[in-house]
Every structure is written in structure tokens, then in C-alpha cells.
């Protein structure tokens, strides 16, 4: 009595869908679980800064350089924490490295989009509020869609890279892990070069081609790094 091929194919497909969804949900839910506080703190910090500026009749604020623009660093930290928590549980529950990879790719993309969107919203709202309060806004105005696009790319690259770094240290230990870390930081460095350099420092943006190609290459490279790290992950005999 063996399972028919068709029933089996169906069962496997269903299982992989469930497993991938479980990882995606964990990545998104786990990030927002703390991420909601990140945005609360960001808003509070912005309010404090604005209040001080208003009291002292300060020189003005660059919205793009505010806390909202650093979502990617928060995501980076979360992305390092989450994989190690779910990996043993997921494999023990019947998931595979492939469903882990897919789940983290999807979860990272979703989280990156969400955080970039909320950050962009804050950046859009901030000058409006500053306007009400008669605080001068510094920095060149820039197209909001470009800001959103670059934030999306940055956030996702940082999430993928964080995931990959976590697994890299788990697999290779301290010394080799640190050496690999330097390699893994290349995609975010590229993304930073291609985008934020122009926005934050007030330097002119690199040409659109550099932005698009740089982001695309950084995304592809960080996703590949993540896949490569999970692909052949060996669970050690005694891991909590």
C-alpha cells in the first residue's frame, strides 16, 4: 500500500505551500511584533526633535535624514535574529531548507515593502506638519516615488543580508563567519551607493540607470546569498 504518485504530488505541493506560508508569516509577524515599537519610537523622536527646533527657532530639518529613513537598520537587526529562532522548529515540524528560503524571501520582500511604505508616509507627512509649525524644511525636494522605490530596495536588501548573516554565523562559526560577513555586506553597500548617498547628503543622485541597475544587482545578490546560506544548512545535534 503505497501512496499514489498523484496523491503524493498534491500532498507535497500542499505541504510546501503551508510551510512557506508559515515561514513568511513568522518573518513578517516577528518583525512587526517589535517593528510597531520602532515606528512609535521614531515618531516620538521626531516630535521631540521638532519641539526642540520650534522652541529654539532652529535652522530646519531634513525629513529624509530623520529616523524614518533608518528603517533598514532596524530591519537588518531583526533579520539577524529571526532565522535562528525558526530554523530548528521549522525543520523539526517537517519544513525544508527550500521552504525556509522561500518563506524568508517572501517575508523579507513583504516586510521591506511595508517598512518602506510606512517610512515614506512619515517622510511625506513630516514636511506638512513642519509647515503648520512654521519650521523651515531643508534639503532638496525629491520625487516621492523615487524615495519609495529606493527605500523598498534598501529595506529588502538589508533584510536578506541580515538573514544570510545569521545563518552564516550558525554554519561557519566566529572566524569564518566574520570573513563571510564582509562578503555579505557588499550588496547593501552597493545599494547604499546607488541610492541613499544622493538623498541624504544632498549630493546629486547618480544617474537613474545606476540607481536601477545598482538596486537590481544588490537585490539579486542578497537574495542569492540568502538562498546559498539556507540551501545546505546542517542542523547540529544539540541545538536549542
Amino acid at each position: 500500500m503505497t501512496t499514489t504518485l498523484e496523491a503524493r504530488r498534491e500532498a507535497v505541493a500542499d505541504h510546501e505551500r503551508r510551510a512557506t506560508r508559515a515561514v513568511t508569516q513568522y518573518a513578517v509577524g516577528g518583525t512587526w511584533y517589535i517593528g510597531i515599537w520602532y515606528f512609535v519610537v521614531s515618531v516620538v523622536a521626531a516630535v521631540v526633535v521638532i519641539t526642540i527646533e520650534v522652541r529654539n527657532g532652529g535652522v530646519g530639518i531634513n525629513p529624509a535624514a530623520g529616523p524614518a529613513g533608518s528603517a533598514r537598520f532596524f530591519l537588518f537587526v531583526m533579520a539577524i535574529l529571526l532565522p535562528l529562532m525558526i530554523t530548528p522548529v521549522h525543520l523539526a515540524a517537517g519544513g525544508t531548507r527550500r521552504t525556509l528560503t522561500r518563506g524568508f524571501l517572501r517575508g523579507g520582500a513583504a516586510v521591506g515593502l511595508m517598512f518602506a511604505a510606512v517610512s515614506t508616509l512619515l517622510v511625506v507627512v513630516q514636511p506638512v506638519v513642519l509647515g503648520w509649525l512654521d519650521v523651515p524644511v531643508v534639503g532638496d525636494p525629491f520625487p516621492i516615488l523615487t524615495y519609495l522605490g529606493t527605500q523598498v530596495a534598501l529595506c529588502i536588501v538589508y533584510v536578506f543580508t541580515g538573514n544570510a548573516i545569521a545563518i552564516s554565523y550558525y554554519r561557519f562559526g566566529g572566524w569564518v563567519g566574520t570573513a563571510v560577513l564582509l562578503l555579505l555586506l557588499l550588496p547593501p553597500a552597493l545599494a547604499e551607493y546607488a541610492t541613499t548617498v544622493g538623498l541624504v547628503t544632498g549630493l546629486p543622485l547618480p544617474s537613474p540607470a545606476v540607481v536601477v541597475v545598482g538596486c537590481a544587482v544588490a537585490l539579486a545578490a542578497s537574495a542569492t546569498a540568502l538562498w546559498f546560506m539556507f540551501r545546505d544548512l546542517q542542523v547540529r545535534p544539540r541545538v536549542g
Binding site: 500500500m1 503505497t2 496523491a7 505541504h15 508559515a22 525543520l91 523539526a92 531548507r97 536549542g240
Partner: protein, 325 residues
């Protein structure tokens, strides 16, 4: 989320097979598994016995696809269609390994982890998980980390049983429980196994109280399979002879001596191998007393570090296997 495919219920109990498997954690160190061959028959409760460090956990993590062997083949599946266990969704969805470490979220409620298992395990039975936790008195709203060692083991037991996986492996999880909980676990396991036949592997170095659950027994020693056979055959394999030393020696013949104990001119010798009716009658008429050797004694003798004639014989109660690494 709760709609599970019907086919999940009809997957036959899995068999498992290791062929010439080597696992090395360090390039120069001793291998954890050293050219191991092993077959776990489908539908049995199999005991995997071995001292600490014998390679039990490594072997079991191979079956669950937690890692791949350095060399050799690790196969699982319905009888007649075995396939590689590593990174194979069909294998991993049908093999459940529970380890003492639990593989649950430490800083979350127990129920959170269980729902992850429920989402992934095709045949998960939430009622059974609840029954196990209730029987073993675990509050599923408690954070896992806040539980005692025994209650943590109970969570692992609940995961293993409720998964109803065609190959379910318990890697020493029940060692953390107190005796009443362990017996409650054995009862739950047997009752559910009788109703939902599957292959169950229990690894342990404490044998006395669970050996009767086994249909098949494999003994692992220093990364190799020492033996693998039906439990009932194994129970009949050892014989102990007591009587005058010279008479005992004559009847032992060329059988492998497991242990020997002397008291004056009387000797008690445990040997591997049985005696047929004629040999038995001959031994008895020469004034010898014949007895069986329990699985626990057999295990202690077979895996003892060195052949020590001072080891207690099979007739006397034997202390727990030595705890050393």
C-alpha cells in the same frame, strides 16, 4: 488552515535504511557514525539503544533530514519505495523527530509552537496534543522556558504523538520525565500506536522499563550497528549458566562469553547464544541452573568498555549502565 488533504491519513508506515553511512563533524576527529548499516522495519516500535556518545542522536537526525551524511545513503519511505531523506519534502513531511531540546520557541507560549507544527504536519491531531499535555499536566499558555525539565519533555512527547507521522522518532525525550509521567507517556504511546499504526523509534540508554514496548531492537556502539533484530529473538539470545566452574565451562563450549562471575567453586557465566532442548537437558542433568539474560543485561555486556570479568552476572540485578561520555 484546518483543511488537510485526505491523502495524509493513508500514508503507510515508513521504513528507514542506512547504507554504509559515515558522519564526521571534524575532518580529523573520530566519526560520529562509522560505516553504519541499519534497517528499521516499517510499522514497528523500534528501540535504538546505545551508550551516551554512541551516535544515536546523529543517526536519528539523519533520518529526519536535519543533516546529510558525510558519505553513504540514508533512505526513508513507504516499504518498497525508499528515497533519500535529506531535503526531500515527502520525507520531511512524513518524518517527525523530537529531540530533548524540544525544537520549540523558548520565549513563547507552548501553544504558539504547537500551532506551527499543526500548520505543517498533515496528520496532526490537536485533540491528542491536548490530551498528552493534560495528562502530563502542562499548561499550554505557559512559556516553554518557564517549564521544568519534565514538563519540557512532556511538550516534546505531545509534539511527537500528535504529529502521527508515518515515522516518528523520540530521541531520549522521556528521560527528563519523572517515573509516573514516563509510564503515562508509554501508555499514551501504546494506545495511539494501536489505533494509528506507524513506525516509532525510541532511543534510550535506560532499557529496563521500555524494552517491552519494542518489537525491534538495534544497538549502536561507537558509531556502528552492533546488532539489529526482533526484540523477541534478542531476549532469547543470552543464556546464563550457574554451577560448578568446570561443569559450566564444559557446557559453555565456544559460545561468546558476555560476563563471568565466580564465588568459590561456583561460576555464573552469561553467554551469547541459546541452548536447544537436548543441550538444556544435558546441562540441567549435570546440575547446572539455566536462565535467560534480560535485554538490559545483554546491552550492558555487549557495550561494556572493556571485557571485565568482575562485571555482575546476569542473575544479579545490574546497576544502571555507566554514565560516561
Amino acid at each position: 488552515m484546518t483543511a488537510k488533504p485526505e491523502s495524509a491519513e493513508t500514508v503507510a508506515p515508513f521504513a528507514a535504511e542506512l547504507r554504509d553511512v559515515v558522519v564526521r563533524y571534524d575532518r580529523d576527529g573520530e566519526p560520529a557514525l562509522d560505516r553504519t548499516d541499519l534497517t528499521i522495519p516499517a510499522g514497528t516500535i523500534t528501540g535504538l539503544l546505545g551508550r551516551n556518545g554512541a551516535g544515536k542522536s546523529t543517526l536519528l537526525s539523519l533520518l529526519a533530514g536535519f543533516r546529510r551524511p558525510t558519505s553513504g545513503e540514508v533512505l526513508v519511505g513507504e516499504p518498497g519505495s525508499l528515497e533519500a531523506a535529506y531535503e526531500n519534502p515527502w520525507a520531511s513531511m512524513n518524518v517527525q523527530l523530537v529531540r530533548e531540546s524540544g525544537d520549540v520557541w523558548g520565549d513563547e507560549r507552548v501553544s504558539e509552537s504547537l500551532s506551527h507544527y499543526e500548520l505543517l504536519r498533515p496528520a496532526w491531531d490537536a485533540d491528542l496534543a491536548g490530551l498528552v499535555l493534560d495528562t502530563l499536566e502542562v499548561d499550554r499558555c505557559t512559556k516553554y522556558e518557564a517549564l521544568s525539565r519534565g514538563k519540557k519533555s512532556a511538550v516534546a512527547a505531545a509534539v511527537g504523538l500528535a504529529s502521527r507521522a508515518p515515522l516518528t522518532i523520540f530521541d531520549e525525550v522521556y528521560l527528563g520525565m519523572d517515573a509516573p509521567s514516563r509510564y503515562a507517556f508509554y501508555d499514551l504511546l501504546l494506545a495511539d500506536y494501536a489505533e494509528h499504526p506507524r513506525t516509532i523509534v525510541l532511543s534510550s540508554h535506560l532499557i529496563e522499563e521500555i524494552e517491552r514496548l519494542f518489537e525491534h531492537v538495534a544497538i549502536l556502539d561507537h558509531g556502528r550497528t552492533l546488532l539489529s533484530e526482533p526484540a523477541e529473538d534478542l531476549r532469547g539470545r543470552g543464556t546464563s549458566l550457574t554451577g560448578p566452574a568446570d561443569v559450566v565451562a564444559r557446557h559453555v563450549g565456544d559460545r561468546r562469553v558476555l560476563s563471568e562471575q565466580r564465588l568459590g567453586r561456583t561460576a555464573q557465566v552469561a553467554v551469547l547464544g541459546s541452548f536447544d532442548a537436548a543441550q538444556r537437558a544435558a546441562a540441567v542433568s549435570d546440575g547446572l541452573e539455566l536462565d535467560g539474560v534480560t535485554l538490559q543485561d545483554l546491552f550492558v555486556h555487549l557495550t561494556a568498555t572493556d571485557v571485565a570479568p568482575a562485571q555482575p552476572g546476569s542473575g544479579a540485578p545490574v546497576a544502571q549502565p555507566q554514565e560516561e561520555r
